[in-house]
């Protein structure tokens, strides 16, 4: 015999109960809304293809024998059937270098922003949630960093610790972290005063739980938007640093250093700089379109 209370219902476990209903998620609804935004979808498609190409690069081309191998005989060839985008001053296939360059830009750009996001979540989250003195101390320190140009800050870090990919990532990550702290802080402050935060406190939830479960999930919208826009910024910064010779060093292909080495030949062979230039242009454009689209999708909060 089952207890009376259990027999009253056709189920006894959570799983059985949920089996009765179709589960729908907020994420799915947001995705449908995002799809309605044409420009954002275009941004996503362009950025998505760049990411896919970067991932499958080793299967498209050969790093050792094509990307970094000099071939003086075929130098400075215009775009054609052998080399779709032509070759550079050392006879390397530009398309292959662009594809491998995407790997470098994306990996460093995304991981740098991951670093600054992590710092921003901790510092900005604490500043926004606790407010008062903690807020003042953190944010004044951030203001000092903000008053320096990103590139200069990154330069200083690279100059001090040496020019490796890891250092470059950390340098850009640190340089961008004050901006993220600001974004996270203001998002947290907007959420902090909602009554559901007080409700969580009234049922005895600890601060870390309130921040992780109630505050941050509700700040995710503006943060995601900033992430996409700042990844674009970070990619530009890498390119800029490489262009002036302080970022990725040749022969490793990177769009910035491709621009730099090609600029001597720019007048006679414009395709050399055109390709990396356009690569940067489309990546940044795609990320900005995507960011704007996400803002439209996520910003008008889940209103009907």
């Amino acid at each position: 015999m089952m207890p009376a209370s259990a027999t009253a219902r056709p189920f006894t476990t959570k799983k059985e109960f949920y089996a009765q209903f179709k589960k729908k998620s907020i994420a799915y609804e947001l995705w449908l809304r995002f799809l309605k935004n044409k420009t954002a979808v275009i941004g996503l498609v362009i950025f998505g293809s760049i990411v896919v190409v970067a991932i499958i690069a080793p299967w498209i081309t050969d790093y050792k024998n094509v990307v970094i191998k000099m071939n003086i005989a075929e130098r400075l060839q215009p775009p054609g059937s052998n080399h779709w985008l032509g070759t550079d001053e050392l006879g390397r296939d530009i398309l292959a270098r662009i594809i491998y360059g995407a790997r470098v830009s994306l990996v460093i750009g995304i991981s740098a922003i991951a670093v600054s996001l992590l710092i921003g979540l901790v510092l900005g989250g604490a500043a926004g949630y606790y407010g008062g003195r903690i807020d003042s101390i953190i944010m004044r320190a951030m203001d000092v960093f903000l008053s320096l140009p990103d590139v200069l800050l990154a330069l200083a870090i690279i100059a001090a610790f040496g020019n490796t990919k890891v250092n470059l990532t950390i340098a850009i990550g640190l340089a961008f972290s004050p901006k993220f702290s600001r974004v996270v802080r203001s998002a947290v402050m907007g959420v902090r005063d909602n009554e559901y935060i007080e409700a969580a406190r009234s049922i005895g939830a600890l601060d870390w739980r309130i921040i992780a479960r109630h505050v941050l999930p509700n700040c995710i919208g503006p943060i995601i938007v900033q992430v996409t826009l700042y990844v674009a910024n970070a990619i530009l910064t890498i390119a800029a640093l490489s262009f002036i010779g302080l970022g990725i060093q040749p022969p490793t292909p990177e769009w910035g250093n491709m621009l730099a080495s090609g600029r001597t030949f720019m007048r006679d062979f414009p395709h050399i700089v055109m390709a990396p230039g356009l690569a940067i242009f489309f990546t940044i454009l795609a990320l900005n379109l995507l960011g704007d689209g996400l803002r439209d999708t996520l910003d008008p909060r889940l209103k009907h």
């Binding site: 209370s5 219902r9 006894t12 476990t13 959570k14 109960f17 949920y18 209903f21 589960k23 729908k24 907020i26 909602n194 009554e195 559901y196 007080e198 409700a199 969580a200 406190r201 009234s202 049922i203 005895g204 939830a205 739980r209 109630h214 999930p217 509700n218 909060r301 889940l302 209103k303 009907h304």
Partner: protein, 320 residues
């Protein structure tokens, strides 16, 4: 029944603001018996919301005591206080901002049980959630819905279910129906009454709506600019208000009737805020019965009639 559940003694909460010190709650004392409802009425800025939050220590008081079930809440450590939160809950005014928009309502109702670790078994905990939803009149099929998919009345039911999750002895209700439509308001009030009858829970019912508080509360306390100016059983307060402010407040209620309307006592002036208040009667400036003494001395809260307390120079303490 009849046993005191909560005793608030000389509770003060001051805030520092740019213009000085805001006496949001100033020397408020009262008791609530188990299973009873005390209504707190007042206009904006009278400190009623701060009072409710301070009693629950969601805001730390400046001074005073809150004795709950024999224990002084202010003497409890963080752990003990978290444990105590099971016994005392709050229902919020705004059913739109009091629920986490990113959580399905089942998770919101489940969270207090989860945090207290009362029911470790997932399925049993889930059954408890369904039971709670049933108690507050939410259909089971709504379990997966998000707050934005529900109307105000249902959201408020979710808030009530969350508050009831740990069978609390005491619930602070901060304007629980004022943002709801009239027909839904009555549903929620009836639901809260039924819950009280079934569980014997004690309510502190904060509102600005006098007709609702009269209907809902056993005792009513009137606050004005941080002070408790009158406290009495509901009938006594409505039949014979002693404080001129209470009198004016009662006469200002728009009554849905067109015959036998009461005469209005119109107050002059506006509500101010109790920043650096002088030690005089805070109502004196707007009072129609203001005397010399009112602008010189602050009236204490005295028992003018049996169980009827008032802070006004017009009244003398009862001789017992």
């Amino acid at each position: 029944m009849g046993e005191t559940l909560l005793e608030v003694k000389n509770l003060k909460k001051y805030f520092r603001v740019a213009a000085g010190t805001l006496h949001a709650v100033d020397d408020v004392s009262f008791t609530i018996d188990q299973g009873h409802t005390l209504g707190i009425v007042g206009e904006s800025g009278c400190g009623k919301t701060t009072l409710g939050r301070t009693i629950l220590r969601l805001i730390e008081p400046t001074s005073g005591e809150m004795v709950f079930g024999g224990k002084d809440l202010r003497k409890l450590g963080t752990r003990e206080m978290r444990y105590m939160r099971r016994e005392m809950q709050i229902i919020f005014q705004d059913p739109y901002s009091s629920l986490n928009p990113r959580k399905p309502i089942a998770e919101t109702i489940e969270e207090p049980i989860l945090l207290a670790g009362l029911i470790p078994d997932t399925d049993k905990r889930f059954m408890r959630v369904l039971e709670l939803m049933d108690t507050v009149g939410l259909a089971e099929r709504l379990i997966n819905t998000y707050p934005h998919e529900l109307d105000g009345g249902r959201r408020q039911r979710v808030g009530i279910a969350r508050a009831l999750a740990m069978n609390p002895k005491f619930i602070v209700c901060d304007e629980p129906v004022s943002s709801l439509d009239v027909s839904i308001q009555a549903q929620i009030l009836n639901l809260m009454k039924t819950i009280q009858r079934d569980t014997g829970v004690t309510y502190l019912f904060i509102t600005h709506d006098l007709s609702v508080v009269n209907h809902f509360s056993d005792d009513i306390a009137v606050m004005y600019l941080g002070r408790l100016v009158e406290k009495a059983p509901a009938e006594a307060l409505f039949q014979e208000p002693l404080h001129p402010y209470t009198e004016a407040l009662l006469s200002a209620i728009p009554v849905p009737r067109i015959h036998n309307r009461r005469e209005r006592i119109l107050l002059k002036g506006e509500l101010t805020s109790p920043i650096n208040p002088e030690p005089v009667c805070r109502f004196a400036a707007r009072c129609t019965k203001c005397m010399d003494i009112c602008t010189k001395e602050e009236p204490p809260l005295i028992e003018a009639r049996p169980k009827h307390f008032v802070a006004c120079h017009l009244h003398k303490a009862m001789v017992s």
